[in-house]
Subunit: 189 residues, 2 copies
Amino acid sequence: MIAAMARWDPDARGRLMLAAMDLYSERGYNQTTVAEIAKRAGLTERTFFRHFADKREVLFSGSAQLEEAIVGAVAGAPESAPPFDAVAVGIEAAGGFLRERDYSRRRQAIIAPNPVLQERELIKMASLASAIAGALRKRGVSDPAASLTAEAGTAVFRIAFERWIDEGNEKHLLALIHESFEELKSLVA
Amino acid sequence: MIAAMARWDPDARGRLMLAAMDLYSERGYNQTTVAEIAKRAGLTERTFFRHFADKREVLFSGSAQLEEAIVGAVAGAPESAPPFDAVAVGIEAAGGFLRERDYSRRRQAIIAPNPVLQERELIKMASLASAIAGALRKRGVSDPAASLTAEAGTAVFRIAFERWIDEGNEKHLLALIHESFEELKSLVA
């Protein structure tokens, strides 16, 4: 009974993520195997595959939760909020969701030089834009307004995020999201 | 001499594109081989590979010229034009560049059900946004304004393009681009 309990590790997922990030940084993403990640985390490959479909998903497992947080906030924005404001509420929720700048910086350093991972990131962003557009349609916003607002909001998010993980930038993500929304307003005006 | 001239076909590229589109529509993209495309066009595989790197490039060979046309128009916009107007000039140039709605509709019908082709399209759009941002920087626009404007302009283009190839929509692409820019302005205001 005690042995069985000891095999259950509540933080296996977190340990696997840290081990993967360390190995991706040290040796490069392509040179790292799942076996090595599991070993570094002191776990088995079987445990790895209970948490992640493959070594790529370690880097992207947060995207679904992020999307959920943003879409939930868009849906929950005041009924009277115009589409662009509802999207701003959603994107600002992302600013609260993403807190660990060091993790995001390390992740970005792994993704940037790898075209396959970059493509995956593009796909996640496209999926985010399309989920936001869906949330706007549920609020009664018709197309093309729903898609346009969702795309513009996603662009604001991506650019604020890039500024946030830029070395030397110590502003909060939420402040950068605010700034980027204001900047877009003045550019389009 | 006459034989050598006869082997040179000034419209080989166009014939290969048409043959490929026909086969992709009839059998599906994955089920079509380069050998079949060449045969349908009455040409050799060697000729195919003189024009296209692979069967995917038949669908994306226009993207580089489109990007060039847009970036050239952004660069050539009046010096006094604010960033968003310079991008509008560039995107409107795309409206002049893309004239064959039937071709674009058929191409879309091939890409839409195929995740690999969709990803390729996303990458081309990301490359377009980054090329427009580069053209803005050369005009003296700093970041994040350059990236934000480029991303917003690319979103407008994508949405106007989607509306254009939507069955039942008979408006001109240029008119749809204008409408989408105006719509974005009123949404952001």
